[in-house]
């Protein structure tokens, strides 16, 4: 648990003396943590500290294998092992534990399956030379064909209709302003994180939106977040360690639910952003229903202009399952968002009293 004393921090000249704490939340992926740490050990500029926050259960006294992995890097990296006893599905809580323990000027988050390039930290810190920048994210290379060019006009946006865009693998060739970042590679000034109450958890299932919550709270205060494409991590997308498929119907449900919860928590239950998102989802689903009706009526042709086979037409109402999932996500998301907003406020008040 102790900070290894043998490696001294070597802040890069471009970082202007800023120190960095790197936080790695993990759950049952010790092999990936090993690879992740080995890439961090090869950085040209060493971070002040690396905090591995492990949510792997330690049942009946058997230690998490991640402990041994972290211990093996002591002496090569200023690395610390931290525990999150809440278990699966608590990535934001792991991040929060890391933020609470961090002492660097900048807190950088890296996923355990995201491997940094040697100059990653130099490039990540460079935009902080502008004092109005509170957050910087890097390019997340997934190895998909065409990902460098795809979505160049829509990297990391919160659109006026409440939707989010990603495309963090795109390379615009220069730093660009964004609204949100991905947890696989994002960083913030620590004081900016702390004055919005740190990392906000309670985003269940695959924790969709928990990382976006961090960025949007900064943007809601008018602060600037930058996407720095030269700060590169290679994301290998480790197998999902929780129950179920990463992209099944449950995922769709929680994606809608958590998205609305996030907007309500950050912007308020009657905010324009939250209301627009509801309308957007309703419009999308009205489109799905119209499409299913057109297919059933035989008004939709196949890719070569051919009539769709009867079986294909009869399958089209299957899209209604997706509609039901979306609507359920909205119906649950709003009241849960209101409840979580109250909890956030109560926690903020408690923090204020504690100070």
């Amino acid at each position: 648990m102790s900070l290894s004393p043998v490696v001294e921090a070597d802040p890069s000249p471009r970082a202007s003396g800023l120190t960095t704490s790197v936080v790695i939340p993990t759950f049952r992926r010790d092999g990936y943590v090993r690879e992740c740490l080995s890439h961090l050990a090869a950085l040209t500029a060493t971070p002040l500290e690396v905090l591995v926050v492990d949510a792997t259960p330690e049942e009946s006294g058997s230690p998490s294998p991640t402990r041994a992995v972290v211990a093996s890097f002591e002496g090569r990296l200023p690395v610390r092992y931290l525990r999150n006893e809440l278990g699966a599905g608590t990535t934001p809580e792991s991040r929060g534990i890391g933020v609470d323990e961090a002492v660097g000027d900048i807190v950088a988050f890296v996923d355990d399956d995201a491997y940094v390039a040697p100059d990653w930290l130099d490039e990540l810190l460079a935009p902080y030379s502008a004092p109005d920048v509170v957050g910087v994210g890097g390019r997340i290379v997934n190895g998909q064909p065409g990902e460098t060019e795809e979505g160049l006009d829509r990297i990391g946006r919160l659109l006026p209709d409440g939707r989010l865009t990603g495309y963090f693998a795109a390379d615009p060739g220069r730093d660009v302003d964004v609204d949100h970042l991905l947890g696989a590679c994002m960083s913030f000034r620590r004081p900016a994180l702390l004055d919005v109450g740190g990392v906000h958890g309670r985003y269940p299932f695959p924790c969709v939106c928990e990382e976006t919550d961090i960025s949007l709270r900064q943007r809601a205060r008018g602060r600037r977040i930058v996407f720095a494409p030269r700060a590169v991590v290679r994301h290998v997308s480790a197998p999902y360690a929780g129950k179920g498929d990463r992209f099944d119907r449950r995922y769709d449900y929680f994606r809608r639910r958590n998205h609305l919860v996030m907007l309500v928590r950050i912007y308020g239950p009657t905010s324009t952003t939250a209301r627009r998102f509801v309308v957007t989802v309703l419009r999308e689903n009205a489109g799905r229903i119209r499409w299913a009706a057109r297919v059933l009526a035989g008004r939709v042709r196949g890719p070569r202009g051919e009539r769709l086979h009867a079986s294909a037409r009869l399958r089209s109402p299957g899209v209604l399952a997706r509609v039901a999932v979306d609507l359920a996500g909205l119906a649950v998301g709003w009241p849960v968002g209101v409840r979580e907003l109250r909890t956030d406020r109560a926690l903020a008040a408690a923090r204020g009293e504690a100070r």
């Binding site: 006009d153 659109l159 006026p160 627009r276």
Partner: protein, 296 residues
């Protein structure tokens, strides 16, 4: 941000209002015109009148006259349109970060909103700003005004149910050095699209087209496209890059009839297709004040 502009001096109708609306916000304005004072179709143009208006407004010497040979007999008018804009944009790009490309019948009603969007587009890495314009079809009369200021009544392009529709004839600002493909359009540019609603309002953009930012309807550029006297409309149909499309007598006759019967034209909009749907709106004047005798 170093901001330049170019304009094509051909149509004096709203030139003063258009140029004045952004003159204070740009460092340099390229005034492009045909040396022989002819349009892309070869019809005569009132270029001298345009240059006189430019001279009157250019109190700080920002305008630079750049004549060229843009009437090219035998060439497609739209190709000549594109050619002239490319030449003007190339000159305007020298020493600029961004170049405005407003037509002389487009008025930037709210420069702070436009320039704010341009700044955000630049920060987001875009190379073209698609800013909404309200497309006006005809001025159909005076409107009573509570404040005493003058207002006019117009037919404006709308949805079937009279909601606003934004028009995008091309990006109204492009990064210096951008290549134009067709008139003002630059499909290879990275677009930052502003609209008047969070959901795309322009059917031409395609359903679900991305909107980066929303501005109020009152902040949109006003495009006095077909707001002309009958004589001016006949001339415009002759010189426009779209002359092949417009010069059909039916287009003019419809315009004249709808101008004379605006409420009927608006009421029957649900029965027609885009872009033949209209609503009746009131707009402050000036900058909407047109030439004498323009009323239908």
């Amino acid at each position: 941000m170093r901001l330049h502009a170019y304009l094509l001096a051909a149509d004096p109708n709203y030139l003063a209002a258009s140029l004045s609306s952004y003159y204070d916000h740009v460092e340099r304005i390229i005034v492009s015109y045909d040396r022989s004072h002819r349009s892309w179709t070869g019809t005569p143009l009132p270029v001298d009148e345009c240059l006189e208006i430019v001279k009157e407004i250019d109190v700080e010497g920002r305008c630079e006259l750049v004549p060229g040979d843009f009437w090219r007999p035998g060439a497609d008018p739209l190709d000549s349109d594109t050619h002239q804009r490319r030449v003007a944009l190339a000159v305007a790009s020298e020493g600029a970060d961004w170049v405005l490309q407003l037509d002389t019948d487009e008025v930037m009603v709210s420069p702070p909103a436009f320039l704010g969007a341009l700044g955000r587009a630049d920060a987001a890495g875009a190379t073209a700003l698609d800013y909404p314009s309200r497309w006006l079809y005809a001025r159909v009369g005076d409107a009573p005004s509570r404040s005493g200021s003058r207002t006019g009544r117009y037919l404006e392009m709308s949805t079937a149910w009279w909601r606003p529709v934004a028009g995008y004839p091309g990006p109204l600002a492009v990064h210096a050095g951008t290549r134009l493909d067709l008139a003002r359009q630059a499909p290879s540019a990275l677009r930052y699209r502003v609209d008047v609603r969070p959901w795309n309002t322009d059917p031409a953009q395609g359903r679900g087209s991305l909107v980066h930012e929303v501005v109020g309807l009152d902040d949109a550029v006003v495009h006095y496209s077909w707001v002309r006297s009958r004589d001016a409309m006949r001339r415009k149909f002759g010189w426009s890059g779209h002359t092949g499309e417009y010069s059909h007598p039916l287009v003019y006759r419809r315009w004249a009839w709808r101008s004379a019967h605006p409420w009927f034209a608006a009421a029957t909009s649900p029965l027609r297709r885009h872009p033949e749907r209209f609503r009746v709106v009131r707009l402050p004047e000036p900058p909407g004040r047109g030439p004498e005798g323009m009323r239908p």
